[in-house]
Every structure is written in structure tokens, then in C-alpha cells.
Symmetry: C2
Subunit: 235 residues, 2 copies
């Protein structure tokens, strides 16, 4: 997804951003946890400056939330609620719907290549889910790759930035209930296939609708599962 191999030529704030985000996604920084710049800086073995920059970005993207009126604000990890999940999934569905629409408007040659590539990913996803011992991490990677590639394929910088900022937050929810979601992979793959079919046919409206339906269903599946809360992580 991010694919940043190569440690030296990356500035500390990007790495801090990634690492803190991972801490949150993995649940090691549990929802509601108070965030102290100093502690994070110590944990990451860097100074407060890059941590601060990373935190500001995380705050703007909604990973951490600031309380306290303006001045002396305190940061904490954004809580995970059902309403938030619903809003999140709806927004992503809308954005990806737009991506699917644009994809269906590409020249037919590009469309064919794209559909072929995504069909490959989708097939791998199906196989992984149907295997005897499904690997949640690999399923996650394949699932994520499908959606990322779809947005990546159209040349739309702003949409790409938005999507890359928001979509991982859905995977935060997905991660928590990853085991419970494995059985639903087949449905998801089928929905993916529907999107691809409409893109292949060059039908923008249908492609958009299919993508939105996919995420709406994902929201439903998630809502059904949300019952027990994530436990606190120690780190």
C-alpha cells in the first residue's frame, strides 16, 4: 500500500506518522487513550518535533482528536463508535464510487488492463479466504490493494490523496474484527466483481452504484459485528 522500503531517505516525521498510525490501527494505542508527545517521542526514540508534526497530521485525518477549547488542547486516540464507522464507510463508498465512475470512463484499452489486474487481485483474495487456514494479514493486504489500485488507476491526484487518508481508517475497524470478517470475504469479492463488470462494460453510473453498494454492505456487516469493544493495548 504505502510501500516505503528504504529507511535512510525518509524523514522522521513520515516514519513517525506511519509508526503512530500503525500503533493505532493495531490497537496498541487503544481508542480514547490520552496522547503525550513526550512519551511517544521517547518510545520512538526521536525528539518531540517530528512527533508533533506527525500528530498534527493524524489529528487532521481524524486518527486522534483534540479536546480542550483552542488553547491548551489535549490529544487522545479517536474512539471507535458505530456511528463513526457508518459515516466513515459511507464517505469512502462515495469517494470510491466516484473513482469507479471515472474508471468506467477511461479509454477501453486502459479499462481492459485495469479490470484484468483487479480481477487477479480479487481472485487471490477469494483463494486466500477459501483456503484451509486463511491468513488475515494477507487477506487484509489483498483487499486493501484492490481498492487502492482502483483509485490509483485513474489519474486523479486529489481523490487519491483523500482516499489514502481516509480508507486506512476503515481498516482500523476492519482490523479489530478481522477474524469475524473472514467469512464475509466471499460476499465482498462478489461485490468487487460486480464493480469490475460495470467498469469493463463502460457503464459509469452502474459502476459507481456497485462500488457504493459494496461499502454500504461492508458497513452493514461491520455494524452487525460491532458488539464487544476493543481491549486496551499495552505498549
Amino acid at each position: 500500500m504505502s510501500g516505503e522500503r528504504g529507511l535512510p531517505p525518509v524523514d522522521l516525521v513520515s516514519r513517525a506518522y506511519q509508526r503512530i498510525r500503525d500503533l493505532i490501527v493495531e490497537g496498541r494505542l487503544a481508542p480514547g487513550t490520552r496522547i503525550i508527545e513526550n512519551d511517544l517521542a521517547n518510545h520512538l526514540e526521536i525528539s518531540r518535533t517530528p512527533v508533533r508534526a506527525a500528530l498534527q497530521r493524524l489529528q487532521q485525518e481524524g486518527w486522534v482528536i483534540g479536546s480542550g477549547t483552542g488553547k491548551q488542547l489535549r490529544l487522545s486516540v479517536s474512539p471507535m463508535t458505530q456511528e463513526d464507522a457508518r459515516e466513515l464507510f459511507d464517505i469512502i463508498g462515495t469517494l470510491e464510487g466516484l473513482a469507479a465512475r471515472w474508471a468506467a470512463l477511461l479509454p477501453s484499452e486502459h479499462r481492459a488492463d485495469l479490470v484484468e489486474e483487479l480481477r487477479g487481485l480479487n481472485r487471490q483474495l477469494r483463494e486466500e479466504a477459501a483456503s484451509a487456514l486463511p491468513d488475515p494479514r494477507r487477506a487484509y493486504e489483498l483487499h486493501s490493494a484492490f481498492h487502492v489500485q482502483l483509485v490509483e488507476a485513474i489519474h486523479a491526484p486529489r481523490l487519491r490523496v483523500l482516499h489514502s487518508a481516509i480508507k486506512p481508517q476503515a481498516y482500523r475497524y476492519r482490523q479489530v474484527y478481522s477474524v469475524a470478517l473472514i467469512p464475509a470475504t466471499a460476499e465482498a469479492a462478489a461485490e468487487h466483481e460486480a464493480v469490475l463488470r460495470h467498469i469493463d462494460a463502460g457503464d459509469p453510473a452502474a459502476a459507481e452504484q456497485a462500488a457504493r453498494t459494496n461499502w454500504a454492505n461492508a458497513a452493514d456487516r461491520m455494524a452487525r459485528i460491532i458488539q464487544t469493544w476493543g481491549e486496551k493495548g499495552s505498549w
Copy 2:
């Protein structure tokens, strides 16, 4: 919209963000202009630290763009191009379409209040455009308020944040060609009215479609004007 008349309890980075953004919107920092942290800090009479934080936020929102592979990156004001305008308007239309959809799903009482409030704004907008000496600033404010209030009305924090980050960038284009756009205000107001009618009727699909159409038409109007006036800063 901004309306932060300088109470002391506002941190420097927020103020720096606002001021730099205003510089960009007003065109005093022209598209393509190279950005030097020190110069900005001197100009704003603060240190580099808050400027840096503000710049990072501006970069993430797409106001400034960073070039240079990873390491030693240089910032410059994002250029204004026709493709960018098109993408921007489409994205905003999609987001506001979602907002309109949700608005149409509100309890009918809330809907009535909302529609009434927005009708008021729309009427003021019409009057301003129809007056003998239209004030572009006031038209801008009213127009902006309409869209902001629509999104504000539904209780959707993430959508609100997204909208507040993206929409002002459309007004950057709008600002540049503000004079040329005045005659189009009547059309815009009519389209607004269509959105309100569908929200009032509680028809989510129609409301969403109307909002998207509004922004699609806005994109067309903008494209026509850019065509004749030329793009700024893409070179």
C-alpha cells in the same frame, strides 16, 4: 466562515494557517510561487515552528505542493489548472451530494427548519446578485454560507471536516474569476433551490443528484471562464 476576530486564546499555528491560506486565496502568493519558511516567518513575525506546522497542514490539504523526492523537498503554491478545477469540483459535488442525501433523511421537522434557513441565504444571494452594484465579497460570503450550512446541519463530523478542508479550494478558483462569475449567480441560486426542494420533499436520491448537478454545472461555468482567461501558474 472564518470569523475569528482575534481573541488572544488562539495559537499561532492556526493563525498562521489562516493567514497563509488567505494569502494564497487572494493570489498574493501566486500559484507556482516557491515557499520559503523563513520568509513567511518573517512576514508573519513569528518563528519558523508554527509556520512549519501550518505549512504541513496546507500541504496535506493541497494548497501547497511539495516537489523533490522525499528528502530535501521544496514547497510551492499549487498551480491552478483546468483538470484540477474539474476534479476539485467533482469531489466537492460528490461530498455535498452525500450531505444533501443525509439532509433529506433528517426528521421532517429538522428538514423544514434547515430548508427555511437555507432559503433565506439563497434569497439574499439572489438579491445581492440582482442589485445595481453587486459586491463580490458579499456574494462570496452568502454563497459559501449556503454550502457550509448544508453540511453543518447534518451531524456528520468527518464529512464536515472534509468539506471544510476542500471547499475553500474551490473558492480559490471562484475568487480569481469572481467578477466574471457574478452573472452566473442566478443559475446557481436556481440550482440551490432545486436541492432544497428535494430535501424538503424528503427525497434523498433526488437531493443528492441535484447537489451534484449544481457542482457539475459550476465546473462547466468555471471551465468556460478559465478557457477564455487562461490558466494561472501552470508552467
